[in-house]
Chain length 257, copies 2
Amino acid sequence: MTVARAKSEWSIHQIAKAAGTTSRALRHYDERELLKPSRVGSNGYRYYDQESLVRLQRILLLRDLGLGLDAIAEVLDGEADSRTALRAHLDWLKAEQARLARQIASVSRTLDALEKGEPIMANEAFDGFDHTQYKDEVIERWGKESYERSDRWWRSLDDAGKREFMRTQESIAVDYARAYQAGEDPAGEVAQAITQRHYEWITTAWGDKRPSAEQFAGLGQMYVDDPRFTQNYDKHGDGTAAFIRDAMKAYAEANLA
Amino acid sequence: MTVARAKSEWSIHQIAKAAGTTSRALRHYDERELLKPSRVGSNGYRYYDQESLVRLQRILLLRDLGLGLDAIAEVLDGEADSRTALRAHLDWLKAEQARLARQIASVSRTLDALEKGEPIMANEAFDGFDHTQYKDEVIERWGKESYERSDRWWRSLDDAGKREFMRTQESIAVDYARAYQAGEDPAGEVAQAITQRHYEWITTAWGDKRPSAEQFAGLGQMYVDDPRFTQNYDKHGDGTAAFIRDAMKAYAEANLA
DNA sequence: GTAGAAGTTGACGTAACGTCAAGGTCAAGC
DNA sequence: GCTTGACCTTGACGTTACGTCAACTTCTAC
């Protein structure tokens, strides 16, 4: 015969308050089979005991760490190792934090630009281009490995990443077109600064492989030779593609030779 | 008569691909009144023009920054200033990042403890205590201002924060009980290290106001005098409350006098 | 006996689409 | 003219963890 020192059974509101949650959450856990009442009265009332309270507190601890109810159920039911689960969760948290950091940086940049009066949202439309349409040509010119490296990089991006890449491309094209229309020398400082960004952008698209002088200059020539590229750049003004080719050639000779 | 240089109209799939999204998203934006097709065929087909594409690209830009569709609609329809909206969003992003940082820290601590073999999830239950039940007493002993400061702090916490506070309290109580049962001197190094945590914890609960020597020692005496407190600490073993009182008194004399 | 507190089971709402399902429409080849 | 496949449409459910009614029953205290 044991003596009950403390309360041995609580109603749903009582246990909820004791643990710092709500009765709705308790019913939800019941429905999800995460935490069943220790006893259900003939009137349908749920009652919880000490053991329930301990389990509830564990649930809430893991919830406060950010784990989902499925993961919590696996851990508490011994189907998953808690260390493994927490490590996986930690990776997820870090990835989320990195994503937030990128968004914070983007928003900050956008705000800075707005303060300076720069119009941040383009008035012109641009279209995404499907890199797979160049597959055979890329393989022929730079080899299968090059295509696959670039393809892997592209597919590793999420949707937002792909769109950001598209916007960067558009931004570079617009800058080139402006420089061209301002009568800048393609080998001059203004144009070459754009080409610097352009080169970094291509490097990223190549999966962090830096194009050689011939490759970069050859790519520039393609902008003029291949009508699909030419159209894409000349839509900002006829002659832009040729201007870009010249700038890229100059950049290759000056920096990549 | 104008000459259409580029395509002047796209089908839903075409514009989706050009902008880097999906037809489902386009239909969603249509339903949400965020982006209506420029034309709808008699067969119900949606068609989009240049203007639509520009608007779509703006939508996706803001989406990639993390804004919700409601906020985007307000910005694009001129109902809200974009700088104001972005600044508000930036604040939100930073708050989210801080929350993630706290979770990452907690998970890391938990993992470290697990690696060391410490059981991280208590076997015993503890109950949250409702600070408002002490309202009159607190006001009588330490003044109305003290109560309100502490109350403001408590209500500023989110649910997870409140639970974390409860867990800290429990952890301190358990540590005290262990020290007491190990025969430690309440004024000794082991107990005083716990009291140090205890003091910081109380300070936090008081809204970052550091208790004076009398206040801290007086609080310790209350642990013994008030049965609600006594019970709360002696449930870990009779005599724990008195041990804590002695430790707090020693701490007050050594560090707060 | 009756009010008020507390309990119950639905069921909808949340954010932004993904993912079928069932069924028209259109262009191209035979 | 017919078939096939690609593309289009409108529902409608699923996702995450509950919050928030609504309608109704039960317990408790006066």
